[in-house]
């Protein structure tokens, strides 16, 4: 069922739409009340009349102390619905890491690829929300377009955005920068349900977030994405500040995914470094690598020698 106002799909047990707060109609149960009547709530243990107890947050019998259950607000912890499978195996991930080490350039140690020992190689499914949404975004900002004596001029406008398969990280293990680089390379269409992927061996992150907090995070992420996108064509000018976006969301659909990545730890000359290999595209490797201080000092020495040589020549 969708919200009648913003068309956002409603979750079971929602009382109001999480985006526009429109009330969800109650399921009709029992015969409608056609005439006024007064009712007494009775204890199921001793049949005494009972009252709602503010401290117990439930109806409580003053005679026998029995507490009766009432429907509680539902705010479950988020659980993954869909899992993307790994497309590269352990050996390919290791090979990708070696290849990445060789491609890092002249300032890295020459023997990095051959001397580094992979100490840990873990398949990780990291948690993310993937959403689709439409939005009307009204905005204001300062930019350098049409500026006069001040460097800035005020602008305002509106834009329509359509987002499909946008990833919002819920990962605690991977950094924000890492997830931003990993997400464009996933083939979302190949996802399987959590039940279908039950037997796969990988460390799986949990969302550790309740539904209400998750929605707040997703909306905050959408607002940040909208502000970023506005500076890429909607707002005139090349420099921006004070970008304010009011996002009127419609049809927000959110799925909870687990996305694959290989997390590696390798040791080089006693120090430990961390890398991440994309779980579906072995050409994408992120991570830390040592630098060769000897080469940097050599380069500085050469530059200094050249400068001294040039100065000496000019002096003569």
């Amino acid at each position: 069922m969708n919200c009648v106002r913003c068309q956002t799909p409603l979750e079971e047990s929602d009382l109001r739409c999480c985006i526009c707060a429109h009330a969800v109609p109650a399921a009709v149960s029992g015969a409608p009340v056609t005439a006024a009547r007064a009712r007494i709530l009775r204890c199921r243990e001793c049949a005494a009349a009972i009252s709602y107890d503010a401290e117990r947050k439930a109806p409580r019998c003053a005679f026998c102390g029995a507490v009766m259950e009432v429907e509680e607000p539902v705010d479950p912890v988020e659980r993954a619905e869909l899992i993307l499978p790994f497309a590269i195996d352990r050996a390919s991930a290791t090979a990708s890491l070696r290849s990445w080490m060789r491609s890092l350039g002249w300032f890295r140690p020459g023997d990095l690829s051959s001397a580094a020992t992979v100490e840990k190689l873990e398949p990780l499914h990291w948690a993310a929300w993937i959403f689709d949404a439409d939005a009307r975004v009204t905005w204001t900002a300062d930019s350098d377009a049409d500026s006069g004596r001040s460097d800035w001029a005020p602008h305002g406008g509106s834009a329509r955005f359509t987002w499909r398969n946008v990833v919002v990280s819920a990962s605690r293990g991977l950094s924000g920068k890492e997830t931003v680089k990993l997400t464009p390379r996933y083939l979302i269409d190949g996802a399987r349900t959590a039940a279908e992927a039950a037997g796969e061996d990988s460390a799986r992150e949990t969302f550790d977030t309740q539904r209400s907090a998750a929605r707040a995070k997703i909306v905050a992420a959408i607002e940040a994405i909208a502000e970023e996108q506005l500076t890429q064509g909607s707002i005139p000018g090349r420099r921006f500040r004070n970008v304010h976006a009011a996002v009127l969301l419609e049809r927000l659909t959110t799925r909870r995914y687990l996305l694959p990545a290989w997390v590696l730890a390798y040791r080089y000359k006693g120090s430990l470094y961390r890398s991440v290999v994309h779980g579906q595209d072995s050409s994408l490797v992120l991570g830390e690598a040592p630098v060769s201080w000897a080469k940097i000092l050599l380069l500085v020495g050469v530059i200094a020698a050249v400068v001294v040589g040039v100065v000496a020549l000019l002096a003569h």
Binding site: R5, Y52, A54, S150
Partner: protein, 318 residues
């Protein structure tokens, strides 16, 4: 959880205040008053009325249950009373035990708000200016950097959802007083169930739906004004004005928990009321001052200072 036993009441679609119902426990007659609940004075059995909805007397859709017990409400209002006792004659006589927990009828409003705004936006810039001053008796020329503001007109549109606006549906507790103890924690919102209100006073709506909708739109306009103030670019702004339209409104009856202590210091004067949020214990009461007490307070302070000065003067005397 459904209530389990009926008591009897005349089969009215919307029982008028003053309707008599028969207690389902002992058979005593109870005057319903302006409430949809009652407690029998003879056997203390709580009843909750169920009735068909009428246009200006809807059934509650949502309820926010009490989480502040009477003991805590008495303690919090007592603290407030002690603070105010010095200045307000009424509260020094009030008995806090008379505080009552009431489920106040209200409406929960939301809509799409679209506005067109215009404002003057100030963008700062700096300039270096020369000036003359006198140093060591000589006139010298110096430079300094000054910040000036370039003002520009900006007009545009803003669209957002207005949500979580709660307005009273009771003539007994005006919206201005309810606002003092807001916000309510809407995360605790539950679908209305008589079990949530059993044993408590549940007031029936006494304001018409159109009156409440009007109040809610005024609140939405104020909320939009605050949002637009935060929406303006630039280093500063002035002359912000806007026209607003609302669409896709929804307004749902809700019961909100309020502790009420009404004090009537003089039978000829209107009651003075202290209210507390039944979820957060936020207390509010009119902060009228008693002129006599203020004068007495000032005189006491002056007298205290005078005595101190006298003691100090005598202490220094040989």
């Amino acid at each position: 959880m459904p209530p389990t036993q009926d008591a009897s009441i005349a089969a009215d679609p919307a029982p008028a205040p003053g309707k008599v119902l028969r207690c389902g426990e002992c058979g005593a007659s109870i005057v319903l008053g302006a409430y949809r609940s009652a407690v029998c004075p003879y056997c203390a059995s709580p009843s909750v009325v169920e009735r068909p909805a009428a246009p200006d007397l809807p059934n509650p859709v949502f309820a926010l249950p009490f989480t502040v017990s009477k003991d805590r409400a008495v303690a919090d209002v007592g603290r407030w009373q002690r603070r105010m006792r010095l200045f307000h004659r009424s509260f020094s006589k009030a008995t806090i035990d008379e505080i009552k927990g009431v489920y106040l009828p209200a409406y929960l409003y939301s809509s799409v708000v679209e506005s067109r705004y215009q404002a003057r936006i100030g963008e700062n810039y700096t300039e270096t200016e020369t000036y003359t001053t006198t140093e060591n008796g000589k006139t010298v020329t110096r430079t300094r950097t000054v910040t000036r503001t370039e003002w520009r007109d900006l007009a545009g549109e803003h669209a957002a959802y207005a949500t979580d606006l709660v307005v009273t549906a009771s003539r007994g507790l005006p919206n201005a007083e309810l606002e003092h103890i807001e916000p309510f924690d809407l995360r605790a919102l539950r679908r209305y169930d008589p079990a949530l209100v059993s044993g408590w006073l549940v007031e029936e709506p006494s304001l018409r739906l159109d009156e409440c909708t009007k109040m809610a739109r005024v609140e939405a306009q104020r909320q939009e004004g605050e949002r637009l103030s935060a929406f303006m670019p630039g280093d500063k702004f002035m002359d912000l004005s806007f026209s607003m339209t609302v669409r896709d409104e929804s307004i749902d009856p809700i019961l909100v928990p309020v502790w009420v202590l009404a004090v009537r210091p003089d039978p000829a004067q209107p009651a003075v009321r202290v209210v507390a949020n039944g979820q957060t214990a936020e207390v509010w009461g009119p902060e009228k001052v008693s002129a006599g007490k203020i004068i007495l307070f000032i005189v006491a302070i002056v007298a205290f200072i005078a005595v101190l000065a006298l003691i100090a003067t005598h202490g220094r005397a040989p």
